[in-house]
């Protein structure tokens, strides 16, 4: 599944897509403790989090994530969006919770890869 397809499937608010929306999403991770995310999130993941500050962007960049989804209607400050743009990190938002989004996503990752 690409980031574009993910945005459509979960009805996400594309805060910053840039030119990498065809990037493949291979797995997912939920976490709000940055060190925990640094330790366990795999490359190519969509990351669901409530952390909406510039360090969120740094973590996503360092772990080679596919995209960040800010959940529970959290919105980033302008500095954070600017950093996402500067580093080519895809940033989306949703009113729903990490759990709701994950349940909806369950089983759908990997579609289009097998076929």
């Amino acid at each position: 599944m690409t980031v574009e397809q993910l945005v459509a499937a979960l009805g996400l608010d594309p805060l910053h897509l840039g030119d990498a929306a065809t990037r493949e999403v291979t797995t997912a991770y939920c976490g709000d403790l940055l060190s925990d995310v640094m330790a366990h999130c795999q490359p190519g993941a969509v990351w669901f989090t409530v952390q909406a500050h510039i360090n969120t962007i740094a973590v996503a960049e360092l772990r080679d994530m596919a995209c960040i989804v800010l959940v529970n209607g959290v919105s980033p400050d302008p500095q954070t969006t600017a950093r996402a743009k500067a580093q080519g990190v895809i940033l989306c938002g949703s009113e729903r919770s990490s759990a709701q989004l994950c349940m909806e996503l369950a089983g759908r990752l990997g579609e289009g890869q097998a076929g």
């Binding site: 991770y29 940055l34 795999q42 740094a58």
Partner: protein, 329 residues
């Protein structure tokens, strides 16, 4: 004469003093007994394009027959006579232990094309023969190998200079949340440019990020050095204090001294040091309440890993960390 030429000639001279005759001489010498005829010798010289041949009796060098001697013999109608009648008996020889400069001086003095080599000074035991071109070829070989060593040295020096440039230095200010991740991100870019395999880049990035965050969150400020060596990447982080009171406790996952405000931002999970340790091949941390904390983490690159490919070659990414314990669909 330029300085360059002077240096070249000094080198050649030095070499000619260092190289011994026995290193350059031909050991398989064609010799004849004194009873051989001039005609036989003449045929041999013509065939082999030699300018002379030693005459040996009972293992002793007794004379030499040169083309000049053959012409003299021809003049006297003695071409079919044994060589002992007209051969050169006043012999100029060179001992094998002498430097080639001695042989070269003799060539120059007498105008000979070749010199019989004897076992030691004053001896008439023939052990070889040396020509000026033997000396020249050997000199060229020596100079060539010296040039190769110089080239190798220059390459190594250039490589060392290259390495020295591959060092990143970051000053990290306390509480500089807005700069967080900058050092780690720049390091990651540099490693990618060097062709370091992606899984190792991620591990080093985690080390840099956690170490950087530790300095920002918990210290009065410090710095981070990233050294990129051919076989490893070394991350050195030092801060100005106040130091970690109990490192053993700090190494326990979940142990944190972070404030409520820091934890609300998602930091202070008590996983910084354990994360660094897990990503590093070598890890040391020392801390004192006076001098602050110093942390050193090393990750070995493929060249230094047994059975792996050099960094330039593409290496398929492999999962460097244990399987996630949750959250992955």
């Amino acid at each position: 004469m330029t300085q360059f030429h002077e240096r070249q000639i000094r080198l050649v001279h030095e070499l000619m003093y260092q190289i011994k005759v026995k290193e350059v001489m031909t050991r398989e010498v064609i010799t004849y007994p004194p009873t051989v005829t001039f005609r036989e010798v003449q045929l041999c010289l013509k065939k082999r394009r030699f300018s002379g041949t030693p005459i040996v009796a009972d293992g002793r060098l007794v004379g030499i027959v040169s083309i000049d001697d053959i012409i003299t013999a021809f003049d006297h109608g003695a071409i079919d006579r044994p060589v002992q009648e007209f051969m050169t008996r006043t012999l100029v020889t060179v001992p094998q232990s002498y430097s080639v400069i001695a042989a070269s001086n003799l060539f120059h003095k007498y105008g000979f094309g070749r010199l019989p080599v004897v076992s030691r000074p004053g001896s008439d035991e023939l052990v070889g023969i040396v020509t000026f071109s033997d000396i020249l070829s050997h000199l060229l070989l020596k100079i060539n190998s010296i040039a190769e060593r110089v080239e190798e040295y220059e390459r190594a020096t250039a490589a060392r200079m290259e390495q020295r440039r591959d060092q990143l230095h970051f000053e990290i200010a306390a509480d500089s949340f807005d700069k967080a991740g900058v050092a780690a991100t720049l390091t990651k870019r540099r490693l990618q440019a060097h062709g370091v395999p992606p899984d190792l880049v991620r591990r080093i990035a985690v080390i840099c990020y956690e170490a950087e965050m530790n300095v920002i969150l918990h210290s009065l400020g410090g710095y981070m050095d990233v050294e990129m060596l051919p076989d490893r990447v070394r991350v050195l982080v030092a801060d100005e204090g106040p130091g970690i009171p109990d490192i053993e406790k700090a190494m326990l996952p979940g142990y944190t001294t972070a404030s409520e405000k820091i934890r609300a931002l998602g930091f202070g999970a008590g996983m910084g040091l354990p994360n660094i340790k897990r990503c590093a091949d070598e890890f040391h941390v020392t801390s004192s309440m006076e001098a602050g904390t110093e942390l050193e983490a090393t990750v070995f690159l493929p060249a230094a890993r047994p059975g792996s490919t050099p960094p330039a070659a593409p290496v398929p990414p492999t999962a460097p960390v244990p399987a996630p314990q949750g959250g992955v669909l």
